[in-house]
């Protein structure tokens, strides 16, 4: 089974802190994604990566950055956490390109609260 593991289920951080959310996948997938999930807004794409050291902005990249130094690991960084970044963060991975096998597999999510 594909496994996407996020380092924390719950995090509480203070305003202004630098926050790292880690995600690891074990299926050698090229694509990795970071979303935030908020009630009524669904999943919104923050950043995605299709290869090591490559990154692409999603729909809401402001206030976030990412790092992909190894194929299996994709980190989301909140440079200076703010209360409006309180949310559920979901990581996903998938194979590259259209066709069979490009379904995405999700981690269990990290619920981040910024106080």
């Amino acid at each position: 089974d594909v496994k996407v593991t996020q380092s924390s289920r719950y995090l509480v951080k203070r305003t202004g802190e630098k926050v790292f959310l880690e995600c690891v996948q074990d299926m050698d997938h090229e694509n990795m994604f970071w979303y935030r999930q908020d009630p009524g807004l669904g999943l919104r794409l923050i950043y995605f990566s299709y290869d090591v050291k490559m990154k692409e902005k999603g729909d809401i990249p402001e206030g976030y950055s990412v790092s992909r130094e190894k194929k299996e690991r994709f980190s989301l960084i909140l440079e200076s956490a703010s209360t409006n970044q309180t949310s559920m963060y979901l990581c996903a991975s998938s194979l590259l390109g259209a066709g069979v096998g490009t379904e995405a597999f999700f981690g269990q999510g990290t619920r981040l609260t910024v106080v």
Binding site: Y35, L43, V100, F106
Partner: protein, 111 residues
């Protein structure tokens, strides 16, 4: 740019009722289409997917969806819902490797 619209935000049904959740997308190229489900307290799971071929696809737990290219739609259906189908349902499209989701539909099924 890609986008996905889900028309129903909150649906309430009784057990055994039929279900249809709407999904429309916009993208000019080849797309792959998905429905994901999130049960309370659980992570997102794939219900079904469309890549090519028969536009009527069957997924897990008795769900099916029909891809109508001319309408840019991929509606989810189930003939008879159960209480255990209570969950949030998300339509998603991937084109050019960017996976985009709709805003979700919350389904509540009452016994």
């Amino acid at each position: 740019a890609q986008s996905v619209s889900q028309h129903n935000h909150h649906v309430i049904l009784s057990e055994a009722a039929s279900l249809e959740l709407g999904c429309n997308y916009s993208y000019g190229g080849t797309v792959n289409l998905f429905w994901y489900v999130q049960y309370p307290g659980q992570h997102l799971q794939l219900l079904l997917k469309y890549f090519s071929g028969d536009p009527l696809v069957k997924g897990i737990k008795g769900f099916e969806a029909e891809f109508i290219k001319s309408k840019f739609s991929f509606n989810l259906r189930k003939p008879s819902v159960q209480w255990s189908d209570t969950a949030e349902y998300f339509c998603a499209v991937i084109g050019a490797d960017k996976l985009i989701f709709g805003t979700g539909t919350r389904l509540q099924v009452f016994p």
